[in-house]
């Protein structure tokens, strides 16, 4: 895809944002693939979470029914969004909260900054939040003389390491213990001099470092996992207790919430509080869940501000692919099962939303502007193996969405004067695949491909239009037999795979 000779078009929407990278995925991935440490850390981490998730999901006899309920709830939410948001807003206000609306990152950042300034402080504590990462809030606050302290251990590691998160759930997954110790010793003024790289010691050093900040902070900033329209209740799901510290101890709490995080009723929590922890950390329940509604006199923050964030979500909503992607509850299960993510890591995607869902969501939130645009490469960052769909707690058909986006990337290129190789290859493929006789004929011919392949059974250079494919990846030599041929041979009584046995 990166071979197109035309001049990359620059669009207004392509300005810098934590939601978009600067390198096309294949280029960024190649860089990350060279990092052996990253690959080892990722392989270990993703396999551990995968196993834990599978265990706790297997013990749920009603898991599929819960997924169906979760998916249907999200579909209802999207189609009913204006009424639900208005109901939610009214309930938050009725319970003493203040509600702000932000059309984009800039507006949300400005509202937060003004609110912090009004409290007369220059340091705030933060609980990990994808929404605030998406708008680049920490950087914006810093430019305005306000230090935002990340209190989630992994986010703290990323922040102190002047680094970027590489996973939605475990942002420092790309770091090992020795790297973490070195970061703490270099950047955390009160780190014990004899700090070892034992995870417990590192966690306790972070506890000490942050405790003073928790106890004296006047303002905290959080995201949300859910906002309940019926009651105005907000939920934050976490493990370390830093979330409870942030949403409970300071006088002022500022919460940034994407408009898609709404659930209609309090009862809906019975579904999502089962789907989320098991899919996310592979636990039956995360250690802490905080739910609050507006302001409770005498308990917790007495100033509560909620910012409802659009930032591209309404664009996504208008589109079938985008709308499906907005169902995401950010559990990160799809990242942990993705063979592409496991090898390239989160940084290759160039967005705060990496992995399979990131490859769908990022182009939807910030647009896909044809060949010159890095976002057009994201839908190809997938083997389409389907593992992401199988684990998704709200049944987002990620592979289908990626295929659709690939089609659009190709369509976007149709306007060009010279047809791209990819375009021609796709057209040829669809002509062949749309007719069983043609497809069978090609399958028979496939064995010839083995002759083109080298000793390692990989086809490295196909003639045009196949070159569009082999330019970016080796093509495995076709097997001796096709699946259909094998099926016929081993199941002589049936017509085709999937038929009655």
């Amino acid at each position: 895809m990166s071979t197109f000779l035309g001049i990359p078009r620059k669009h207004a929407a392509q300005e810098e944002s934590p939601l978009r990278g600067t390198l096309p995925f294949p280029k960024a991935a190649r860089k990350e693939l060279a990092n052996g440490q990253l690959r080892r850390n990722l392989a270990h981490a993703t396999s551990v979470i995968r196993t834990k998730r599978a265990q706790v999901v297997d013990e749920m006899p009603d898991w599929e029914a819960l997924r169906d309920a979760g998916a249907a709830t999200k579909t209802q939410v999207m189609s009913n969004l204006p009424a639900l948001l208005e109901q939610f807003e009214a309930n938050v206000i009725a319970r003493g909260g203040v509600v702000h609306w932000a059309t984009d990152a800039q507006e949300a950042n400005r509202i937060v900054t003004d609110l912090v300034r009004a409290q007369g402080v220059d340091e705030v504590i933060k609980v990990k939040s994808m929404a605030t990462q998406e708008i680049g809030l920490n950087e914006y606050l810093e430019d305005n003389g306000i230090a935002a302290v990340e209190t989630d251990l992994a986010e703290l590691i990323v922040q102190l390491g002047h680094d970027k998160p590489s996973h939605i759930l475990v942002p420092a997954i790309h770091r090992n213990r020795t790297e973490v110790r070195d970061i703490f010793l270099a950047e955390m003024a009160d780190a014990p001099a004899d700090l070892t790289d034992e995870p417990r010691r590192l966690a306790m050093a972070a506890r000490e470092h942050l405790r003073r900040k928790f106890l004296r902070s006047k303002v905290a900033i959080s995201g949300t996992n859910f906002g309940i329209a019926e009651t105005g209740t907000i939920g934050v799901v976490e493990s370390e207790g830093n979330g409870r510290m942030c949403v409970t101890l300071p006088d002022t709490l500022i919460t940034v919430m994407g408009i898609e995080k709404i659930l209609p009723t309090f009862t809906d929590l019975e579904v999502f509080l089962q789907l989320l922890p098991r899919s996310s950390t592979g636990e039956r329940m995360n250690p802490y869940t905080s739910l609050w509604t507006g302001v409770t006199p005498g308990d917790g923050p007495q100033n509560f501000h909620l910012i409802l964030l659009d930032n591209g979500r309404t664009n996504a909503l208008a589109d079938q692919v985008g709308r499906a992607a907005l169902h995401c509850i950010r559990c990160s299960a799809c990242l942990n099962v993705c063979p592409v993510y496991e090898r390239t890591g989160g940084h290759a995607y160039g967005s705060v939303y990496p992995g399979p869902i990131g490859a769908v969501l990022t182009p939807q939130l910030t647009g896909m502007h044809g060949h010159g645009d890095v976002n057009s490469t994201l839908p190809y960052a997938s083997s389409l193996c389907g593992a992401c769909y199988d684990v998704c707690p709200v049944k987002i058909p990620i592979p289908d969405l990626l295929v659709e986006l690939r089609g659009r990337a190709v369509d976007a290129d149709r306007g060009r004067t010279i047809p791209g190789g990819w375009d021609a290859a796709m057209k040829a493929a669809s002509w062949i695949m749309s007719n069983p006789t043609r497809f069978a004929a090609v399958e028979k011919g496939l064995a010839a491909g083995r002759l083109v392949a080298g000793k390692d059974q990989k086809i490295k250079h196909l003639p045009f239009p196949g070159s569009a494919w082999t330019h970016s990846k080796d093509m495995p030599a076709p097997p001796k037999q096709t699946f259909r041929q094998w099926w016929k041979q081993t199941h002589p009584d049936t017509d085709q795979p999937g038929g009655p046995a």
Binding site: H44, T73, D152, P199, R216, S239, L249, P277, D299, G300
Partner: protein, 212 residues
């Protein structure tokens, strides 16, 4: 136009092409467990899940409760309680020369004051066996959220009949307008090489006494 109207208008425009109403939400997942609240299988499951989450659990009879509280608090010199905690529980906490501080009587404690107290003892609203979760709702004996957050040791007294089997049964017992804290084991992190470390910012020990 206000940003509020702008966002709502954009949403309405985005949805304008939709005509068919979305399908209803299927609710054929398990809502009520096979076993009633507080029944032996439910308690057994709860204990198993809590231990799996590294909480300390003991099942006691009402007669054994006071001794069990004193015993659980062995390592603590000071304890904070809510004003409306059952006097019998407060008396048990005060045994062995422990200092008991009442939050809000005469004054509400600052975070720094709470930080100097070793332990907190509270009741709870509901326990969920299937997920090993205990929910606090600020009801009688539970106090403000801060008192169960800052001290390093949290002792919860839960009655057997407060423990239900499933998440939906628990949600049905909760009042959404109260500040709710759901707790499953002590705080924990797995951020460094996925190795679980118990006790980061909340209490490092969760001790549960199930009275039945």
């Amino acid at each position: 136009m206000s940003s509020r109207d702008a966002v709502l208008n954009r949403i309405r425009a985005a949805l304008a092409a939709d005509t068919a109403p979305p399908p209803p939400i299927p609710r054929d997942y398990i809502r009520v467990g096979d076993n009633p609240p507080g029944s032996p299988p439910v308690l057994e499951l709860m204990v198993d899940r809590l231990i799996d989450y590294k909480a300390v659990v003991r099942e006691v009879t009402p007669d054994q409760l006071a001794d069990a509280i004193d015993d659980a608090l062995t390592g603590s010199r000071s304890v904070v309680i809510a004003q409306d905690l059952d006097p019998d529980l407060a008396a048990a906490a005060a045994r062995s020369n422990r200092t008991v501080t009442i939050d809000g009587n005469p004054a509400v404690l600052t975070p720094a004051e709470l930080d100097s107290i070793d332990a907190v003892i509270t009741t709870a609203k509901v326990g969920i066996a299937l997920s090993g979760t205990i929910t606090l709702d600020g009801g009688p004996g539970q106090g403000r959220r801060a008192i169960t957050l800052v001290p390093d040791f949290h002792l919860i007294v839960l009655h057997a009949d407060q423990i239900v089997q499933t998440v939906p049964e628990a949600i049905a017992r909760l009042d959404p307008l109260r500040p709710l804290t759901m707790i499953a084991g002590p705080s924990a992190t797995s951020d460094i090489e996925l190795e679980r470390v118990e006790g980061v910012h909340g209490p490092r020990t969760l001790y549960v006494l199930i009275v039945g």
